[in-house]
Symmetry: C2
Subunit: 209 residues, 2 copies
Amino acid sequence: MDIPEGVIDRLPKYARALGQLEAEGRDVVSSQELGVRLNITHAQIRKDLSYFGRFGKQGRGYNVQMLLDELRRIVGLNRQWKMALVGVGRLGRAILGYEGFSPQGFRIVAAFDSDPSLIGTRINGLTVKPVADLEKELCDGGADIGIVATPAETAQSVIDSLVRCGVRAILNYAPAFPNVPDGVHVRHIDPVLALQAMTYHLKAGAGPG
Amino acid sequence: MDIPEGVIDRLPKYARALGQLEAEGRDVVSSQELGVRLNITHAQIRKDLSYFGRFGKQGRGYNVQMLLDELRRIVGLNRQWKMALVGVGRLGRAILGYEGFSPQGFRIVAAFDSDPSLIGTRINGLTVKPVADLEKELCDGGADIGIVATPAETAQSVIDSLVRCGVRAILNYAPAFPNVPDGVHVRHIDPVLALQAMTYHLKAGAGPG
């Protein structure tokens, strides 16, 4: 199936909103209500979901539990994923301490840095290993996902190492756009780019944009 | 001009790549090379830029300095923006300590929390104020942008307060999808959603996705 990346990016949002509805004890939800909760048009929601089959009956809305189960299966939310963190500076330590990962099945299993003063220290239960040992440590299927929290200059070489170890998903916090081969997925977490995407509108003055 | 949000999201990336090229002393760049640096097709780049005029000559590439200046003007990168942070827990403190904002013109000028043990403390040169005083403190044009690093449950009410003060751009770190009126822009920084957008591909097994 050749599904647009934008659709795939929205699926986890649908799953999260449905999880909230489930927690509220709701059985059925319309695409309209889901849309209001997510600031996504109901037409978009219906179109996105139509890639994966026929959910919901005309005029009856979606069965919350059924759609949630299906989305979890499609997105792979009902699994455990092992992550390796590279870069344990201030940002990396905040990532290590982030409590939002493990309830969603994402576990940081290894942490690497190049700073001799950090190597060997224990942070959140993990011993920081030298980044020079990354391939030795990970190439035996040690991680599904790499988190890169290094300076921009070293991001590419770190990502090259992760890719050589078979890692096919990179969460990149470095302010850089590394190149990866086909079949390797990168998502950037970059607050400055997110801010700059909004200042376009602020600059343009008042009114909807 | 009615420019798709996806285009606007990419403009800061173009500006960043051009800034790197400028730092490398480059005068001209092709859309092909820019595309390789950013993992964006050159056709997409040309199409995006065509919304804003005619840059670059057929077969000659873009003048780095000229295009960079123009993008900075379009996106509003050559200004100072004042930001108010709400939520000074572990995540909020990492945001306060983030060194990537100020070189790009983004300055956190106020920090708020509801925790009495945090109110009045100084963090990175700012005194934490009670969130109850947010509207009093900010409604006089105190901030252009709000950063929300509260728990999910309080994000909506905090954002409502920010919006009442005329803030029209929200950088939301809370795992919630708040509703905002037309003309107010929200960008979500959510590593879990970014990870979940990739596990779709991992789950699907090997091969390009």
